[in-house]
């Protein structure tokens, strides 16, 4: 027991050291101007998307519940954080936490009735909730309605998004390696068998949903304070579908794969900008090709995984957790 404890502490130490190193490198690059304002913004969007993708990952890959409405929680978090900051002048951090908590509450309330549904029915219902929340925000004049909510202070910095991202990785990685996480995985593997073994499946599904919603809300808050302007249609189900794509391409329940695919897919549209409107055609084309190649067992992530196994780092570890 103590051996595994020291091992996991060692892993934690390595992870934290690596994150600090990555952070220092990026901060240096930003301050020396190697990464200009444009790329800095993309970098911050990538971090926010990673938080979103990992929270979706918990629901889709670890608990096996296909949600197509995760961006609704991002919307709730963004609007809750922005509104409370604008109305009461609550400090940035507290607004972020408030946004996350409100989103988590909604996740709980929405999860309770919908998680009785399975598979495609759940997918379409969550998508419906996403659309309903977008329409509801459009009809609340206090939140700016369809015109959007302007004038949010731009308080999100690279340090904040990076810190939140690391926090998300740590918390979610801990969750999936814990007793609760194993229960969630058992729900994914076989719901009936899990129930027969005494796992309260509804409870763990709702738990995953609520936790995922909290982190999505946190990411939404960061997004609101980064963009300084939010509008409801940003959060419609297309955003949710993007998240599902990140998660599926990242590989089943794989943290590092998920982070890699999110980074690549967030950056890809920017990299294709030189093609003009054609990039909107190239992106889905690549998506289809990747999906077909995956089935033919030519996986990009498998290569990444092989390298990771050599190093014995985070990769193999999260793979074992799955």
């Amino acid at each position: 027991m103590s051996v595994s404890l020291t091992a996991s502490l060692k892993k934690l130490g390595i992870f934290l050291a690596a994150s600090v190193a990555v952070f220092v490198v990026f901060t240096l690059l930003i301050s020396t101007g190697v990464i200009n304002a444009y790329y800095k913004r993309i970098l911050m969007t990538i971090c926010i998307n990673i938080i979103l993708a990992l929270s979706t990952n918990l629901i889709i890959n670890f608990t096996g519940q296909l949600t197509l409405g995760h961006s609704a929680f991002m919307a709730i978090g963004a609007y809750a954080a922005a509104a409370i900051s604008l109305k009461t002048g609550l400090p940035f951090v507290l607004s972020l936490i408030f946004g996350g908590l409100v989103a988590g509450l909604f996740g709980f309330l929405i999860g309770l009735p919908t998680l009785r549904l399975k598979g495609d029915y759940l997918a379409i219902t969550t998508m419906g909730f996403c659309q309903i929340i977008v329409v509801a925000i459009q009809n609340i004049p206090q939140l700016g309605g369809a015109q959007g909510l302007p004038g949010i202070p731009g308080k999100t910095t690279f340090a904040w998004v990076f810190f939140c991202m690391i926090l998300t990785i740590l918390v979610l990685h801990n969750v999936v390696s814990s007793k609760q996480g194993r229960a969630m995985i058992s729900v994914r593997e076989d719901e009936i068998a899990a129930e027969a073994m005494g796992v309260n499946t509804t409870r763990y599904k709702v738990m995953a949903f609520t936790l995922g919603a909290f982190f999505a809300g946190l990411a939404g808050g960061l997004y609101a304070f980064l963009m300084m302007f939010i509008e409801p249609t940003t959060f419609n189900y297309f955003k949710s579908i993007d998240l599902v794509i990140y998660v599926v391409l990242g590989g089943a329940g794989n943290f590092a794969g998920c982070i890699a695919s999110t980074s690549i897919l967030t950056f890809l549209p920017e990299a294709l900008r030189a093609f003009g409107d054609l990039r909107l055609v190239i992106y889905p084309l690549l998506l289809i090709i990747i999906m077909i190649l995956r089935v033919k067992n030519i996986r990009v992530m498998r290569l990444v995984k092989m390298i990771g196994r050599h190093k014995g780092g985070k990769e193999g570890d999260s793979h074992a957790a799955a």
């Binding site: 919908t114 379409i124 419906g128 329409v135 509801a136 391409l249 909107l280 992106y283 998506l287 033919k296």
Partner: protein
Amino acid sequence: MSLVEFLQQLINGLSLGSVYALIALGYTMVYGIIGLINFAHCDVYMVGAYIGYFVATDLHLPFVPTLLVAMLGTAIAGVLIERIAYKPLRRSTNISLLITAIGVSLLLENGFNWLFGGNPRTYPHDILQQSNVELGPVHSDTLHLIILGTSLLLMILLQVVIYRTKIGKAMRATSTDKDAAELMGINVDTTISATFAIGSALAGAAGVLVAILYSSIDPYMGIQPGIKAFTAAVFGGIGLIPGAFVGGIILGVIETFVTAWYSQLSGAIGFIVLIIILIIKPSGLLGKKVSEKV
């Protein structure tokens, strides 16, 4: 709301609902046979509207040939999509197939946007003469009635194909049990292609009808009706052909009445109805409860 007004709204609702039903049939047929939510289906509807547009403006064909050409074109498009994008993934997980479908959907939308521009195009007015029809005190116009009539005709044809022909029998067999059907000598690949062809042709017809009604088309026109039609399919019980029909009609009528009463809700009403139905009766209006076996 007076009775006359009610009846007028009912006609509008029925014709809107019949269009939803036409699209919903494609969703439900594909779902029934390969268990895929075909996200690209709503874009096949858009493709149908574009084919109809080019046929009507460049070749000056009248309504019926335009409709038939559009249906043929979308049927080919549907089969191509299935053969190129979905067939390699048939044995893989549902979610990979779903993402591929989303990819095809985005490809069609953005591809058409890139090819033909994002500005809405105006449909030729002379394709159908619009005139008022008076049924007693109720005023309606030929357009709504023609849409309703065409949709009903196509749905009856579909019923005949499904229940009276050999390919229909093969489709029913494949959707019940793919492997058993294959063992009985049914060519499953052909059957699946036929399902895509028929479903896509119906969506293409719906595309032309709606484009004539609203006289405007753009590459992203399929998204909203697509969501609503899918809702209709789930509402009626996905995988069931009568379910798609009933669901489409009911959804169209509800939407028309709710929109007449409070227009802001039109975007969300379909989902509100859907969620209520799913929470009360998850298998849909006509669906049977399937008990799980261990």
